[in-house]
Each structure stands twice: as C-alpha cells, then as structure tokens.
Symmetry: C2
Subunit: 322 residues, 2 copies
C-alpha cells in the first residue's frame, strides 16, 4: 500500500511488530499519519540473525515504498514478544521466537544504519493505544489485552512504564483466586486463568457439560466452542449467561485491582475478546465504579475498548522514538 | 532531644508525620543526619486549622531546638493519612482526621513561611525507607506495611510513584481471593484481609476455636490473642503453625503479585507484624522466588525487613523536598 508522501520536513518513524509467524511494519509521521505498511515472515526458525535479515528487508522495502529517502527517518522501534531488556536492547528470553540474550537492537541498527529502540510487544501496543488510539486524550492509561493470555501495558504521564529492568507489568500473572486454576507461569489462580479467551472457552465447555439442555449445543460441542460462543447465546440461554457473568466478574476484579494500584484515567481492552465492546466495558465499568478505592469522585477510571486493533503494536513501536 | 548543630552550610529539611493522635516531627540534614525530633498532639477534633496551629508550634519548637535559624531550612514535608492530592497540596479526604478538601499545604506554608510539600503517610514511609532505610542501596523499592491494615508505597528510579492523581498504590486493596473475606473498602478478598495484623489475629482465633487442645490456650483466649500469639507457639503447636503457614502463604501471594507488576529490586516489610523479621522474609522470599514471572535470573527481587520503624514517615516526609 502506497500513500503519497507529501515530502515535507516532518520526521518519519518506523514501527516493527514481531509476531511468531510474521513481522508487521509501518512508517508513520510524528502526527500518527500512516505512510505505508507491509509485512514479512518472521523466519525465526533459522535463528535470530535470519529473523533480523528479514526485518531489514521489510524496512528497506517500506523505505522504497515511500520514495527511498532514509535521511528523514528518525529511527526504528521494535515490539518483540518475550522478556525484553529495553534499556540495553536485548531479547533476554523469547520462547515464541526461540531467542535467549539476543542483541536485537544492535543487530538491526548495524544492518540498517538507523537508531533502534526495542520493547516488549504488549508494552508497544499500550504505547500505541496511548498515543494514537483510545488513550490519546489521556496521560495515564492501561491496555489489557484479552487474548490467548492476558497481557498488559501501562503508560504513566505519557511515558511507557515497564517496571524494574523493563520486565514488569505482568498483570495477567497476578493471583486473583488463591489456589485457583493452574497458570502457565507456574502460579495458581492468575488473572489470566479467568480473563483470557482460553479461560472463557474453558468455562464455556464446563457449563455446556454441566447443562446438556443449553442452547449452545445447537451449534457447538465442547470441542468446537470459541471465545464468542457464550456471548452469542447469553441473552437467552442460562448456561451461556452464567459463563458471561463469570467472565465479567473476574475481569472486573483484575481491572479494579490494577486501577487501585495505578489509578489510570482509562483502562482499554484489546485482544480478541475485546470485540464484545460495550458488552464488556459497560458491566466492568459498573463493577469497577462500585468497588474502586475511595469511590469515583476524585479520580474516576474509564473503561473503554481499544481502537487500533492489530496495528497498535507497530504504532507503539514507532512511538518509542517520538 | 537536642543534637549539636555543626552549623555548616548543608541544607536542613523538616519532616512531619501526622497520625490520628500525635504528630511526629524531625529535622534532618540532606545526608539523613537527624538533628532533632519532637512530637505534639494532633488536635484534629478542633478542625484542620487547629491541627495546623499545632503543627506550626511543633515546627517552631524544633527550629528553636537546633538554634533558631530558619534561613538554612529548605522546607517542610508532611505525610498525612487519607486520600492526598500531593500535586495541589490538598487532603482530599481523611476519615482519621475528619478532613475533606482541606488545603493543608497552603495553610502550613502561609503560617510558617517555608516551602511545603505533602503526601500520603504510607507513601512518605516508603520514600523514607527508600532513601535512608532498608531500601537505600536500591533504586526501585516497595514498602509493604503489615499493620491494622496493609499499606503500600512504591519508589521507582529513586522517585515516589503515587499513581494517577497521587491516589494509587493501594496494594492492600487488590483482591487475592475472589469472594473472600469482606474488606473495609467494600470489596471481598483483598490482600489486606489476609496479610494485616487484624487478619492474623482473626485466623489465630479461628484456629484456637477449632482446636481446643492448642497450646495457645495456655496463655491466651480468642479475646486476648495478638499478632504475636501464633508466632510465639508455631514451632511446637500445630494450630499455631497452621496460622503462620496460612499467613505467609497469602503474604507471599500479594507480594509476588506486586513484584510481577513493578519488578522492584527489593520489597520491604514494615508495620507491627514485620517485627517477626526473618520468620517472614525467609519463607516469603522462598515462595516469591518459586513463583515470580520468568524466574529470578534476570531480575531478582529481594524480600527484607524495613529498618526505620516508626521514624520512616518523618524521614520520607523530609525527603519530599530533597
């Protein structure tokens, strides 16, 4: 996709969002105007350097797309899954990409000759939503991604807050139910075990098995349920309604926890389940308003749906250099 | 108490810690040397202005104690219980003091003619421990106070982190047990309901009633138990051991939650229960190390006992101006 570059002196920023299968790239102007976007396969099965070669190919291709001039590009920001040492530019560990202590920042910078900054992909998405998405009117925002897992990114006073050594903000891995469901992280009862799409599907299966008269059986079996199944039937089916109520209750607990600690102006839902929009945000807002510490008068917290979808990561990566 | 002022040009700072019954004051040099300390009754039953008169009396008395010169005092920091708008200098709400939207900063500043900064008392204590106590070797630290309630204060990169509108970091009011014990804040299952001295006493009573052969009955009844009772007997009595194990398990859950979000270098325990020192810190450290996200290699978190005791608040208040 090529959008005519107006050729003005406004600086340009490259945002890269690394996924397990593909790498998404984007060139933005500082005002958030999208100049071009493109993607390439990650290729990490051939090692970190091969992945970097692909990323550099993607970057060069995008630079060609907007006219070939590298001089007005201020730098490259990269969002990467895993434990990222953003200060020193290392991928400390990424199970998805099979990397350990990999100098991602230096590899890309050496190959492309531009300044490079890296961060965790969830942090990048939070920065993207904060600067250009649903959080753009606020200084303090939190993105909670409701996908296979529950991820989080936190922006404080317009700046990404990453926690010590840039590996904090693991809000999905805070226990909300002592001795609850086992989590992939090794703990029991993590927020992620109640608010992820996987948790929603597990609970849907449980309720279907417990109620063989549920209308959900019309189109689904426990093997074919998705994160949408319960929402599809919850207006009319009791079992489906129990799933949705259970999900919203636990989502509100985790969101209120993080609101009591950071007291942001806005909490944004991203990830697959956030497609339910007001069916999540309205009841969670109600529960949060009832339970937030010291009430809503002095420091209210809004609950909204994120707005950039799958582009948030690349937007936020580009914003690392702004 | 008067300590001879060496009269050098090092700036001096006044720290004030407001409690429900008394106000503690201290004059410090920037290097943390204590020049004098004193206290006065809070007197808030006569309103905010009467309380401020007492605080000003205390300040003037301390200035006299160190020789009477106000010129080399850089300012007054105040830690105050309740919801504090530290940016604008207001006590938004303090149930303890009976204050609502009270301009504490301006009242004291007008009366004493020195710059004044205010913050929440738990935040002040955290800053005190971070600058001059158990956290002084670290840039990122968290103080968890285990008293009647569970309070928290967070220091990030040497600076107090207060959350949006300075009313966050309510780590005692994060749910760790869905539908758990009812909390004073209105929620159910808050960390405070499991890790406070009150929770420890409630659990001690429960276990005593459940086991009438417990050795704890030798000296105590459910009506006379304290936060020390279970620790006193836990080496030899099964019921007491169950109380202590229960307490440590939940304390570790809450501490690991906050560690996964902030990833500090150190978590410090303050408040009454922290007097158990290694009997808390060693087992909590073990559980945290087992459960912290992505292990301890890259970003370990130490668990220690705070070191300033009841002086932390005044130290931290003084540090607000450093």
């Amino acid at each position: 996709m090529k959008i005519t570059d107006t050729g003005n002196s406004v600086k340009k920023y490259i945002g890269i969002d690394i996924g397990g299968m593909s790498v998404k790239g984007m060139i933005l102007r500082g005002d958030g105007t999208e100049l071009c976007k493109d993607c390439i396969e990650t290729g990490c099965k051939n090692g970190g350097s091969a992945m970097c070669d692909n990323i550099v190919t993607l970057i060069n291709r995008m630079i060609q797309t907007i006219g070939g001039y590298k001089t007005d590009i201020k730098g490259v920001g990269i969002g990467c899954p895993g434990l990222i040492d953003s200060k020193n530019g290392f991928v400390v560990f990424s199970g998805n990409l099979g990397l350990k202590y990999f100098p991602l920042q230096k590899e890309i910078s050496d190959k492309i000759g531009l300044p490079v900054k890296i961060t965790n992909d969830a942090h990048a998405a939070a920065l993207g939503e904060a600067k250009f998405g649903a959080g753009r009117k606020y200084k303090d925002s939190i993105l909670v991604t409701l996908g296979t897992g529950v991820g989080g990114g936190i922006v404080v006073d317009g700046q990404l807050f990453e926690g010590g050594k840039s590996v904090g903000t693991e809000i999905g891995h805070t226990v909300i139910e002592t001795d609850g469901y086992p989590c992939s992280c090794g703990r029991k009862g993590c927020f992620e075990c109640y608010a992820s799409a996987s948790a929603l599907m597990r609970k849907t299966r449980e309720e279907m098995r417990a109620d063989t008269n549920s209308a959900m059986w019309e189109k689904y079996t426990p093997e074919t349920v998705t994160g949408l199944t319960a929402f599809e039937y919850s207006d009319t089916d009791e079992a489906a309604k129990r799933v949705v109520d259970w999900y919203i209750k636990h989502l509100a607990i985790g969101v209120t926890n993080i609101a009591n600690v950071f007291r942001p102006e806005v909490v944004m839902f991203g990830g697959g389940v956030s497609g339910q929009k007001e069916r999540l945000t309205l009841p969670v807002q109600k529960l949060l308003d009832e339970e937030i510490f010291a009430g809503t008068d002095f420091a209210p917290v809004k609950v909204v749906t994120a707005s950039l979808g799958g582009k948030a990561g690349a937007y936020g990566a580009a914003a690392l250099l702004m």
